[in-house]
Amino acid sequence: MIFQLEVGCRLDESLKSLGVLEGEPMKPIITTHDLTKRFGDFAAVDHINLEIMKGEVFGFLGPNGAGKSTTIRMLTTLTTPTEGTGQIDGFDIETQADEVRRRIGLVAEKLILYPRLTAVENLMFFGELYGMEKAQLVARIDELLRMVHLENFKDLPTGGYSSGMRQRLNIIRGLLHDPDILFLDEPTALLDPQSVRFVRDLVKELNANGKTIILTTHIMEEADELSNTVGIIDNGKMVAVDETAFLKGKFKCETLEEVFLELTGRTLRDSASSRVAMRRTMGRV
């Protein structure tokens, strides 16, 4: 029997159909085994083993240069691992990359939008990359634009949008093909409080409708509010993976931020890893 969640109903039926089976034990939708990425001698990600359950919001945290983005890039098939394996919904991230790609949506920190094109032109282009039929895509775009209140701006170039509007569009771009799993990388960075609230509510809503969400953020209260489970990575290694409440209890901390600083220390990160990350984001990807 499908477990139907009652939500604020701005989402379409297809989103709702992704419910979890009632009574069934939670099963991992993302697993990694000794996943490693080296840049030369430097291990940006060092033998990490993860299990992310279907239907959860997984807060993926870590200081700058800890290996978050590299892990996300490997899981989203944008970078190949140097060692180890990863599966998404049972498909291998290296050998079955296209199957993986159909099941994931990426909302990267850098906006994946062409500023000269309108919202509709952007969404049509990316939707067609997923092989979606034109008519189906047009309906889907209308629906998603309404969901993020951009329907009145759909024919304007996105370069003229405010940061909040751009991010809302960026998020629905990742949802076009209705993926089971959504990777959200810093979705509220540099947004105004209204937009932050909207995005956080949207994440909750999407999760309530069955989407598994991997959320990367530096805002600890955001991770605390949204995630069921958090994983903290530091120097390429996972230093903790557990339910938020459990971690707070374990380290006798009131907030997730305290847990985070307890585990990763208070030293500023100017290590070689940041330099590697910088070089990589400068284009060597």
């Binding site: 098939t77 159909r102 990316f126 990359l129 997923y130 070089r279 284009g283 990807v285």
Partner: protein, 396 residues
Amino acid sequence: MSNGPFHSIYIAFRIAHKDLLDFWKAKMLVGTFMLMPILMMAMFGSMFPSTTGTSNPYRNAPMAMVLEDHGSLAIQAGDQFKDIASSTGLFKVRDFPNYESARDGILTGSVKGVVVIPEGFTEAFNSHRQATVLITVDDTNAQMGAIIYGEASSIVGAISDNLGRIIITKMGIASDPSFVIEPISVQRENLISSTTNSFEFLAPGFMALTVVMGTLSGLASAISREKEQGTMDGIMVAPISRNAIVSGKMISQTVRGMIQAFTILGLSMVLFDVRVYGNPLLMVGVMLLGVASFAGIGIIATSIAPEQETATMMMLLLQFPMMFLSGILFPMDQLPVWLQWIGKALPLYYAADALRKIVVLNASLNQIFPDAGVLILYSLVTLGIAIPVFRKAMTR
């Protein structure tokens, strides 16, 4: 969702369509892009004047005449020179009292050359010996010097011919004076029905250069730019063939290059009187081959360059020597042999050569096959290396 070869082809065209739409929306960029070939043609076209007809840039060039001999024949020859020079509009001749003052005229720039009828000119005639005329030109501009020297000496030649005819007639030789003066004459039979001008040499070369270089640097910067702004991730994370991504980029850049190339051709036809004798489809075919032969190099550059700026610089570095070494601006035969070898190692030479043969000489596919063969070989080798390099670089 399909993922067969047809879907990949569709995706390649979809990516190209997106790129072109994005390009079209940048109005100022489009304007600059269209202005570029117009400027190139106008500038380079005027830089290389031909010596014939109205396109001679040194018409009515100031010329000095020094009569060192004051005999009747010398004066007569000087007058004839002036008559021919002014009636043909080649020179404006002024008299100078002596060679030194005329030479000063060259140094100060008031004249471009000196014609001297030296002492003993008339006497040589009277004693039935060959007389001499001296010509000095401004050698600071070698090309102009050569043109002025050529024209001045041809006027002297014409005067000499006339005198020859008179002498032969006076001598009472019964045959045609032309037979005695010039027993063999040369007649030029052109490959094409009209005379060529320098634009006919330049236009096909520029077309090849624009398509090839536009595509090459466009491809490198287009991929690098998308990597930098992050949109490439959005494409790479979709379940599409990596080759479709590269092909899409190649198609959009090729279309842009073709638009520029045909702008060059159109302008050359309208403004510079270039006539196209060849088959336009064959021209498109050769340009596509030119693009294919360079695309691999562009893809390798964008794969190894850390960012867009470097990729663009790398392409400029390649573009600059190619303009000079591939016979685009001037015939390759004017280069030293070792530079010719370098030029011939670059595919642009073959693309320009084939295109020129088609445009000017109406060459057929068979006649340009050696050029086309080299281009095909180049394409296969460079793309064969580039595609795996690109795949690897994109998932590094």
